[in-house]
Subunit: 174 residues, 2 copies
């Protein structure tokens, strides 16, 4: 009986050490965005497509806007404001001319998505939690790491320009 | 017993009449692409995203490439050729400057997807059925109606330029 108790104690101790080592590595904390405390939603790359876009200038990317089930349902029903639980993801990639197409046409014709660029962004709807920012929490992750606080301070002022669309730039593309 | 038999006969007769009426309306035939005999795969708008692109020139659109489960699995595993059952969908929309963004930046900055444009295209893999075109059947539908035969004759010669990627232009965007 004493041996079993000792064994259980040892197992528990190892578990505690492992947990603190994990927390010590800061992995969990690293993945929470400043200000809004948003984490990367699991499986977001499998979400359905809302729309696509291209940004010129310094951003110079091709992007896709994906939505979780709550988001897609709300978009398709055309109801505003978006309900709590809506999450919208913005992915972006390098804006790259397609070599084969350029050869075939003898000029620039097709631009495709290259390597990931400009991080991944999320908008999370929680009307109560994010009351001071239109009900939305914002997050940007670069290679899985959250962007800094100053970057997150720019989200809401910009999205405020589309207040009439519940602060969401992208419309649903059928 | 006779009554039941008569009733069954009547039900069968109504079913036959209904089926022929439906076929008479030509709905099924209208939705089959010439040459390759491809139909619009149900639920394709809910498929997962492969990548995004922008075409300049006359096409002048923003597009999304979606794949059915077979396609996404093959892409993620990086295996070529794509297995039978792969379907890749190409959606496209008008290339439209985003008004709010133009105002905010004082110049063109963001381009978003407008109304659907340039139809919806599909590539369907069936190595045996489409042996003479690299194992791929091609289809374009404009507002649900298949494009004509001459349009479908241009698909394979163009895709042949990316024979090394199993005739598929778009790579998977992580």
């Amino acid at each position: 009986m004493k041996r079993i108790a000792l064994l259980l104690f040892a197992v528990a101790a190892v578990a505690v050490i492992a947990a603190s080592a994990d927390s010590g590595a800061g992995r969990a904390n690293d993945e929470i965005s400043p200000i809004f405390r948003v984490t990367i939603p699991p499986g977001y790359r499998d979400w359905r497509l809302i729309s696509v876009a291209h940004e010129e200038g310094n951003l110079n990317d091709l992007r896709a806007i994906l939505g979780n089930d709550v988001a897609i349902k709300a978009y398709r029903e055309g109801k505003l404001p978006f309900p709590d639980g809506t999450i919208i993801a913005r992915l972006a990639w390098n804006y790259v001319p397609l070599e084969e197409s350029e050869k075939a046409f003898g000029r620039l014709q097709s631009f495709v998505a290259g390597a990931p660029k400009n991080g991944v962004q999320f908008m999370v709807k929680d009307a109560k939690k994010y009351a001071s920012t239109g009900g939305w929490g914002f997050a940007q992750f670069n290679d899985g790491k959250p962007a800094d606080e100053s970057a997150h301070k720019t989200c809401f002022p910009c999205h405020a320009t589309v207040r009439a669309r519940d602060f969401v730039f992208n419309r649903y593309s059928p």
